[in-house]
């Protein structure tokens, strides 16, 4: 990442993601937690756009920020009052959570900073040397059967979505 606009955008979005993901799990009102999760998902979509994956960013916004968030908000409003607060945590649960997540954070950051794979390639070099991912490439990759083409997983996903529709209706219907 070398251009100044890219660096500024990175820092703004990274700060957004860090702050809102912590607020998602510490907020006691669950509807607010869902809203903060929406901000985190949109920040991730901005990262996808910045890395050059336009289609993936659009899918992230449409499926996650559009579909899943609507599901979350509806299920929250169906199951509890919106001004309910979660009860305060017991101290041993909080200690367990903080210990686990902090130890995981420290271990992952150590592994990250001592990672031998890091080379000095900047983002613009990667974007120039990489293949251009346009819709024709993605479409051919999804319906072909050659190497690095994905017809079988694509069909499996479609069957999975059908099973998901039927399962959702069967589980949630009134008896």
């Amino acid at each position: 990442m070398d251009s100044v606009a890219n660096i500024i955008l990175y820092f703004v979005v990274a700060l957004c993601i860090a702050v809102f993901s912590v607020m998602t799990v510490t907020s006691r009102k669950i509807l607010r937690a869902a809203t903060y999760l929406l901000f985190v998902l949109i920040g991730t979509a901005v990262f996808y756009f910045q890395l050059g994956y336009q289609f993936l960013g659009a899918v992230q916004i449409a499926v996650y920020a559009g579909g899943i968030m609507v599901l979350f908000v509806f299920s929250i409003l169906l199951t509890r009052r919106p001004d309910d607060k979660a009860p305060l945590l017991a101290s041993h649960r909080r200690a367990l959570g903080i210990g686990l997540s902090l130890s995981g954070l420290v271990l992952l950051l150590l592994a990250l900073f001592f990672m031998p794979l890091v080379d000095g390639l900047s983002l613009s070099e990667c974007l120039e040397s990489g293949m251009s991912i346009d819709m024709a490439t993605i479409g051919k990759a999804f319906v072909g059967t050659d190497r690095f083409q994905y017809l079988l997983p694509f069909e499996a996903i479609s069957v999975l979505l059908l099973a998901c529709i039927i399962g959702g209706v069967t589980v949630a219907r009134k008896r």
């Binding site: 299920s75 890091v118 990489g130």
Partner: protein, 99 residues
């Protein structure tokens, strides 16, 4: 490359904290979404910076997003059904099943 992985690590740690401390099932599901999202971001970053000539990480992230959507829909259907049977959505109140 390193700097794109740092927010992902923070997201994952926040998801672990929420998964260990929350009692409401929908809050657990929200924490799960945070962890899944961080894994997706990792796939894309590794693909862009280590293998810029291919697009396998992006395809895998697309499949992961589709499967996460299906899983969330089924989980919310189950949670609403539990709410109808039990009356709230705390994990402590679901201690026995019907059979």
């Amino acid at each position: 490359m390193l700097w794109y992985l740092v927010p992902s690590v923070i997201m994952f740690a926040a998801g672990v904290y929420g998964f260990c401390t929350r009692k409401n099932m929908i809050a657990l599901l929200i924490s799960l979404e945070l962890m899944l999202n961080s894994a997706d971001l990792n796939f894309v970053v590794f693909n862009r910076f280590l293998f810029p000539g291919s697009m396998e990480g992006m395809v895998f992230t697309l499949f992961a997003i589709a499967i996460a959507a299906a899983e969330t829909a089924i989980a919310i259907a189950i949670i609403i059904n539990i709410y109808r049977a039990v009356g709230n959505t705390d994990i402590n109140s679901v201690k026995q099943m019907k059979f």
